[in-house]
Amino acid sequence: MTKLDDMRRPDRGNMLAVLLFITAGPLLWGLHLTIVYMAHTAVCALAASPGAATAILAIVTVALAVLLMLILLDQQRFARLLKVSQEIAERGSYDRIAFFLTLLSLAGILWSGLAVTILSSCAPGR
């Protein structure tokens, strides 16, 4: 089959699936930042409980980091879960883009989460 013949076949690429596959890492990074920032602010402002704030942040950081590691370890399974077709053009490129974005996000989550081990929760910033 020529490349031109391929144009006559229906597209098997599901845009939403490809988008989620590529951006799963950054989306989880965004989720991490949202949860840790909002939880920390709310717990400190309303309950003034540094222990609870630290615990929430640590749990969220570890849980999301583990999830990202699992995605990195079995990327193909994750792709199948999202129903990303094997037949889309240059599928390997999407795998690599998704891999590095997930890796970058994992670094981001661990880097932000590290703050919990250094700084005390609820202490004023100035």
Binding site: I97, A107, S112
Partner: protein
């Protein structure tokens, strides 16, 4: 042995095919040229106006530097200085940087994607005219003492009515709010254009990097701009009606503005930088004569930067008293964003280092090298100010002024000048002068560094930002004088560029200067008003390098859609991932409706600023009427059947449902509306955290009884059901179903009734919006609901009219689908609002 290339159209083309194509894409002449919608015409107009704003804001910058050249200077008054720095920053950010990048998207994307045009040409033209009118009026306020004075970020409480009386701040709030709507219209066009009008075979991973950058740019606009639109709405409503969102003694908080503003404002930096980086990623390979090193990593960097940029906004607020650990999160994210930025820088350096021959030193490459140097310095100081203790020291000093000018001028203006020199041969009969270009570069490069490098030191020794003048003897005199001299050198470079532009830039669509760089991407194909004669079949990232005959093949009509088979303007819509042909989009040509809509919408906003409410409303009605006329002309119906585009592929000339570009545009618009609402939900919860004591049931009248939200929810469900039923009842073409108009009217009525019930329920409890921040937030939900309810009512009326005139049926149903999609979203938003406004206080109280 060479592979035999299969072409979509092997046979010679009919004699009159090219004439037919030219006729369909002919430009209007004389004064009617202002009704043109071709991307090349409006793209040049757009970039021209954006550049005009750059010059005007630049003049303001030079005036500021002249005022600060010596201590205790009184060249301009303190009040005028405040207006000047506000208009300088606002113009550079809102009227120059973002529009210039959108303009390049409008101008370059269709050429790079070899599409005949972007999918909504009149939407682009509307956005541009709205921007021109709104922008010029906003800028002109500086000439009659009406310009805002609160800085480009307009922090309350300084900008509240008590401290900024008069209309000055309102010009910023309504003018900039309106221009952001124009930017969002452009972003919708870019997203749908990049995802749906690529040439057959150009999968996502074969797209030019600039297309990736513009896709992420537009997605970021969709998420970031609604936050500042909400902020401007809140502040304008507080200024006009006293709803206390930002007034601390009524439960408001000025820091809410900072959160909303910087949630937009920090991504804004990357909104400006990413397209510029995309441009650099196009120029560097052309000058190195080899493909970009690390294409996939650059895509990773663009997407990563896009996401990370939304986690940095609090680094503008390190000194506002936020808990230390929260500062740590944002400090970490601010440092982490250096990784994707670094990936791009190293990719460019690697591409330059691995040039096929010696890297060509031309004017565009000089500007790219200048960008690399300046932007890297700005990036390094960016990491410095990401460190909380250092930020505490340099906050609001000239160090920050130096940092962001290094980032913004280095990261955007230098790539923009590289772009001018690189792409002007695509749209002009003559190239710009290489000799003058080198002078322009060196003057700008030296001038820039002489102006802004000393500011790092000025800031470190304590000079605060935005001061009108300063006393002698603080050690600031020499540094300020050096900066001022530098600004004149920089201005001389820009002036020389303008002279070159006047001497050599001769816009054309047919007889351009050709491809002087021997680049590999599709914008260098031979073009006419219709863009490329035929739409190429793409099999690689650099099609012109891989197939040197591609230009001839395209020109001879050997590729897809070599004519205008429907006799109208059209292009191929392809699938979003693999770019397989799906249907032919028939696009509107020149017209007055979008122009009238833009001018009168701008007038409505600006007249509201000066409180001429009645005339403003008349203008708004005219604008909406023009939009309806415009929309009426868009749905051509399936009458033209299928057309053969080549390679035996026959495509429909009409499409409804989730494949259609109209559906995609509405989906993107709904994402924008949801971003706006999420920003509202954040604001509601934020003010509750700050002032729970004013919340119902303890600090405000008790909530309406359960019957009110329940009744409202039932109305929403009934209306949604009615809308769903209409879809099932749509008759076959030529058939009738008399129940459709009343069902659509019922759906619209339910939505309107639900909106009124929500307002009335709270009013009956005695709660008033000006009472406290809780009341303001409760009624603000209804203000946001009103926007979508109004749009749904208009669209439902539009669908009824389409049905009554025989233009709506089971096949020709785009008019209904747009109304239904927005309706479902509106119902969802209002239901979420009921849960928040009625459920949350009960839960928290």
């Amino acid at each position: 042995m060479n592979e035999v290339r299969e072409l979509p159209n092997e046979a010679p083309r009919p004699a009159n095919e090219l004439e037919e194509l030219e006729r369909a894409w002919k430009l209007p002449t004389g004064f009617r040229l202002i009704t043109a919608v071709n991307n090349q015409v409006i793209g040049i107009l757009y970039i021209g106006i954006a550049f005009l704003f750059f010059l005007l804001a630049g003049v303001l910058g030079v005036i500021m530097r002249t005022q600060l050249a010596v201590p205790e200077n009184d060249l301009v008054s303190q009040d005028l200085f405040n207006q000047i720095f506000t208009v300088h920053g606002t113009t550079m950010m809102f009227l120059f940087a973002v529009p210039a990048m959108e303009a390049l998207g409008v101008l370059l994307l269709p050429q790079m994607l070899a599409a005949r045009d972007l999918p909504f040409p009149r939407l682009s033209a509307f956005a541009i005219w709205a921007y021109i009118v709104g922008g010029l009026v906003f800028f002109s306020t500086i000439f009659y003492d009406l310009a805002p004075k609160g800085g480009w970020f307009m922090y309350p409480p300084l900008t509240l009515k008590e401290y900024s009386p008069g209309d000055n701040a309102d010009f910023w709030l309504l003018g900039i709010g309106f221009i952001e709507i124009s930017a969002i219209a452009g972003a919708i066009e870019i997203i749908v254009g990049v995802l749906r009008t690529r040439p057959p075979g150009m999968s996502l991973t074969r797209m030019p990097i600039f297309a990736w950058a513009m896709l992420i740019f537009a997605a970021m606009i969709m998420i970031a701009f609604p936050a500042v639109i909400l902020a401007t709405m809140l502040l304008e409503i507080e200024r006009s009606f006293g709803w206390p969102f930002f007034t601390a003694d009524k439960g408001g908080d000025p820091l809410l503005w900072q959160h909303l503003f910087w949630f937009f404002g920090h991504p804004e930096v990357y909104i400006i930088f990413l397209p510029a980086a995309g441009l650099v990623s196009m120029i560097v390979p052309a000058m190195a004569r080899r493909p970009l090193v690390g294409y996939r990593l650059i895509v990773v960097a663009l997407i990563g930067t896009g996401f990370f940029s939304f986690g940095l906004w609090v680094h503008h607020m390190f000194t506002t008293g936020i808990p230390a650990l929260s500062l740590g999160f944002f400090s970490a994210a601010s440092m982490a964003v250096a990784i994707p930025s670094g990936i791009q820088v190293f990719s460019w350096i690697a591409t330059i280092a691995s040039s096929k021959e010696r890297f060509r030193i031309t004017t565009p490459s000089l500007f790219v090298l200048g960008f690399l140097f300046i932007f890297t310095v700005g990036g390094v100081t960016g990491v410095m100010v990401a460190l909380v203790p250092l930020d505490f020291q340099v906050h609001d000093t000239y160090f920050v002024v130096a940092h962001f000018h290094y980032v913004l001028i280095g990261g955007m203006v230098f790539p923009l000048f590289a772009t001018f020199y690189y792409w002007i041969p695509m749209v002009s009969r003559k190239m710009l002068s290489e000799r003058l270009g080198r002078w322009v570069f060196w003057l700008m490069f030296i001038g820039f560094n002489v102006t802004f490098f000393p500011m790092h030191i000025t800031g470190l020794i304590g000079m605060p930002r935005r001061v009108w003048t300063y006393p002698d003897g603080l050690g600031w005199n020499t540094l300020n004088m050096v900066s001022t001299v530098g600004s004149y050198i920089l201005a001389a470079g820009v002036a020389l560029f303008v002279i070159d532009l006047f001497l050599r830039f001769r816009p054309t669509m047919e007889n351009n200067a050709g491809d002087p760089w021997r680049a590999g991407t599709l914008e260098w194909l031979p073009t006419g008003a219709y863009s490329a004669r035929s739409i190429p079949f793409v099999t690689s990232r650099e099609p012109l390098w891989d197939n040197p005959n591609l230009g001839t093949e395209v020109e001879e009509g050997r590729h897809f859609l070599p004519g205008a088979p429907t006799g109208e303007r059209e292009t191929i819509v392809t699938s979003p991932v693999d770019a397989k042909p799906q249907y032919i989009i028939r696009m509107p040509g020149p017209g007055w409706a979008h122009l009238v809509a833009a001018v009168f919408m701008a007038a409505a906003f600006l007249l509201l600023t000066v409180k001429l409410v009645t005339i403003a409303l008349i203008c708004a009605v005219i604008s909406i009427a023009a939009c309806i006329v415009w929309g009426w002309q868009l749905d051509h119906g399936p009458g033209k059947g299928e057309v053969d585009i080549g390679a035996g592929i026959k495509l429909p000339t009409y499409m409804a449902g989730p494949r259609s570009h109209a559906w995609w545009a509405m989906a993107v618009l709904i994402l924008v509306a949801s971003s706006l609402y999420i920003a509202y939900v954040f604001s509601y919860l934020y003010l509750w955290v700050v002032s729970p004591e004013v919340w119902a049931p303890h600090g405000s009248p008790d909530l309406p009884g359960f019957g009110w939200p329940l009744g409202t929810a039932l109305l929403l469900i009934a209306g949604t059901g009615s809308m769903v039923l209409v879809r099932r009842m749509l008759p076959a073409p030529g058939g009738r179903e008399p129940a459709i108009p009343p069902m659509l009217a019922l759906a619209a009525g339910c939505l309107l009734a639900a909106f009124l019930a929500e307002v009335w329920g709270h009013w009956m409890t005695g709660l008033r919006p000006a009472q406290n921040s809780y009341g303001a937030m409760v009624y603000m939900a209804s203000v946001l609901n009103f926007q979508v309810v109004f749009a749904c009512v208009v669209l439902a009326g539009f669908a009824i009219a389409r049905y009554l005139t025989g233009k709506l049926d089971a096949e020709r149903r785009v008019g209904y689908e747009n109304a239904a999609l927005l309706y479902y979203y509106a119902a969802g938003q209002m239901l979420l609002g009921l849960v928040l406004v009625h459920g949350f206080p009960r839960l928290a109280g």
